[in-house]
């Protein structure tokens, strides 16, 4: 069973901006799913459609086999969303906010679970303060607690760790791992790619409203985790179209004065010499050379064609 099944989803905003273009995506039940993409790729639009704060233009979504657009209430009760933007009710305390949240999902009060959430998200000490007095990090943790208070089957986190310090971030992820181990499906977007690589077993990348790839994280890492030859030059580089076409077999990326080229293996022999010669011919002898193991970030940049 899939926690989410998204078919041919489109979103065109009133101003003509196409945010999602024919996105189809499967999120398996029980997975820890990373949705990655550069800013403005359409991640938040996708999540907002799931959360019912933005209307889709066309397409269909099913949650645990139920049509999201026709059985909204059923689906919403099984979904918890942490919105990207901080939101808090200035009139109430965290404890009250959690009680109201749970009630609004049609569930009876459960003080033990509320206490546990406050504890796990380190808000117990602040449970009776008015939310206005909370710091940014606390408000964000309260958002996470709010999304979990009705014990959803699917938890969606849109950039949940922005502005949360490293120590807390780690503990937040430990908590998410536990929930995931207990059967909760978790879908998250994040800018911290190492985090996604470490936590998630499934990954999808979207760019400019289109799905680039969606597959198990290991597969993506294995398939693309080659090494790169990085050549440093004295001057910043710019790739002309001609450079790009000649070096296209090595997926050239430029970072200021550094040129990185992907190494391929043929009969277990690395082609570093071919790559080096090709680069030297175009740009001359570099001032320094290094070999880097590719990580998710390189893959991400390569797939989204973002060389900045």
């Amino acid at each position: 069973m899939n926690a989410l099944e998204i078919n041919n989803l489109y979103k065109v905003y009133g101003n003509g901006n196409v945010a999602l273009q024919d996105v189809s995506l499967l999120v398996p039940e029980g997975s820890f799913f990373a949705l990655l993409g550069p800013n403005g790729a359409g991640k938040s639009t996708l999540i907002n459609i799931l959360a019912d704060t933005v209307n889709a233009s066309s397409g269909s979504v099913s949650l645990l086999g139920h049509d999201l657009f026709h059985e909204r209430a059923w689906c919403k009760r099984r979904m918890g969303v942490v919105p990207q933007e901080i939101a808090f009710d200035p009139f109430f305390s965290p404890r009250e906010v959690l009680k109201f949240s749970r009630g609004m999902y049609g569930q009876k009060a459960d003080d033990a679970w509320v206490d546990e959430l406050l504890e796990r998200l380190e808000l117990t000490q602040h449970a009776h303060k008015i939310t206005r007095q909370l710091s940014g990090g606390m408000r964000r943790r309260l958002l996470v607690a709010q999304a979990l208070v009705h014990r959803p089957k699917l938890v969606i986190l849109d950039e949940p760790t922005a502005g949360v310090d490293v120590e807390l971030r780690k503990r937040l992820w430990d908590f998410m791992r536990e929930l995931n181990a207990a059967g909760t499906t978790i879908l998250l977007t994040t800018h911290y790619l190492e985090e996604a690589e470490e936590l998630c077993d499934q990954v999808a990348i979207i760019d400019q409203g289109k799905l680039i790839t969606s597959r198990p994280m290991k597969e993506l890492i294995r398939e693309v985790a080659s090494s790169s030859l990085c050549l440093r030059y004295a001057e910043p580089l710019q790739l002309s179209d001609e450079d790009k076409s000649i070096l296209s077999a090595f997926s050239p990326r430029v970072y200021d004065n550094q040129l990185c080229l992907t190494l391929n293996k043929q009969d277990s022999r690395s082609d570093f010499d071919t790559v080096y010669q090709a680069a030297k011919q175009r740009f001359g002898t570099p001032v320094d050379v290094s070999i880097r193991q590719e990580d998710l970030e390189d893959v991400f940049l390569r797939l989204t064609g973002d060389s900045s």
Partner: protein
């Protein structure tokens, strides 16, 4: 059911938490009006009606306060929700449009009734006001609060900023309620303005509400009831429909 009840609690606790602004302040304002008019008008009668000015004024001020508070409850919740981004929680929750509108309006009516009762309790000892038809007081009080609560929801959905909201309040709601015969009998107006006033729904609300106390007024309250009932249904349905389609709430 639990969802609707929770939202109702949230919306009523919101105003109970800031009683000074939401209950005490409107009561004090109304009392100030009464003191001023009491001394300005003395024991004078309202022209054309066999009633003293003070007894005429109390129900009108009560109803005006109730209408304005019902509007304030829904509209401020909506606009604060939008500015603080809290309205996303409402959109994300499984609460349906009908449940949400019901809960918001129930809280608006509760606030109006609380404000109205406080005013009545404070002012009753200083007047010889009677309660001629309690059912009429309740009918007009509740319908008026429902209409204003619905308008508050719609105004809140439409507004993008506190300034938009203040504009709706100061340029539409305040003039309409002020110029609805709270302070004067409509028969004192020139014929042209009387004709215009016949189209002001707030006039019927206030006049009918007052009729419940003093058993006299400028309109026939039984005839006006039908129109008020229809208007109430229309207002509530509009709020429900706009909520359902996510007007100005969802892109």
């Amino acid at each position: 059911m639990i969802g609707t009840w929770t939202l109702f609690q949230r919306e009523s606790r919101r105003f109970l938490r800031v009683k000074m602004q939401t209950i005490v302040a409107p009561a004090l304002t109304a009392i100030l009006y009464l003191i001023v008019f009491r001394y300005a008008m003395g024991d004078r009668q309202v022209p054309g009606l066999d009633v003293d000015y003070f007894s005429f004024l109390i129900p009108g001020l009560m109803m005006m306060a109730m209408l304005q508070n019902a509007f304030a409850n829904t509209s401020s919740s909506m606009i604060v929700g939008k500015i603080m981004n809290v309205h996303v929680f409402l959109l994300m929750s499984p609460i349906s449009a009908a449940e949400a509108v019901f809960a918001f309006l129930a809280a608006a009516v509760l606030r109006a009734l609380v404000v109205g009762s406080v005013l009545l309790l404070v002012l009753l000892p200083f007047s010889d006001l009677s309660l001629a038809h309690i059912w009429m007081i309740l009918f007009y009080g509740v319908c008026g609060s429902l209409i204003m609560g619905s308008l508050g929801l719609i105004g809140g959905m439409w507004s993008k900023t506190f300034d938009d909201m203040a504009m709706v309040n100061n340029f539409i709601i305040m003039p309409l309620t002020f110029l609805s015969g709270v302070f004067y009998s409509v028969s004192q107006l020139p014929p042209f303005w009387q004709a215009i006033n016949a189209w002001n729904p707030f006039f019927y609300l206030i006049d009918g509400f007052r009729h419940g106390f003093i058993a006299t007024g400028d309109s026939d309250p039984l005839q006006a009831m039908g129109a008020v009932a229809i208007l109430t249904i229309l207002a509530v349905l509009s709020a429900w429909y706009l909520w359902r389609i996510g007007w100005k709430l969802k892109e």
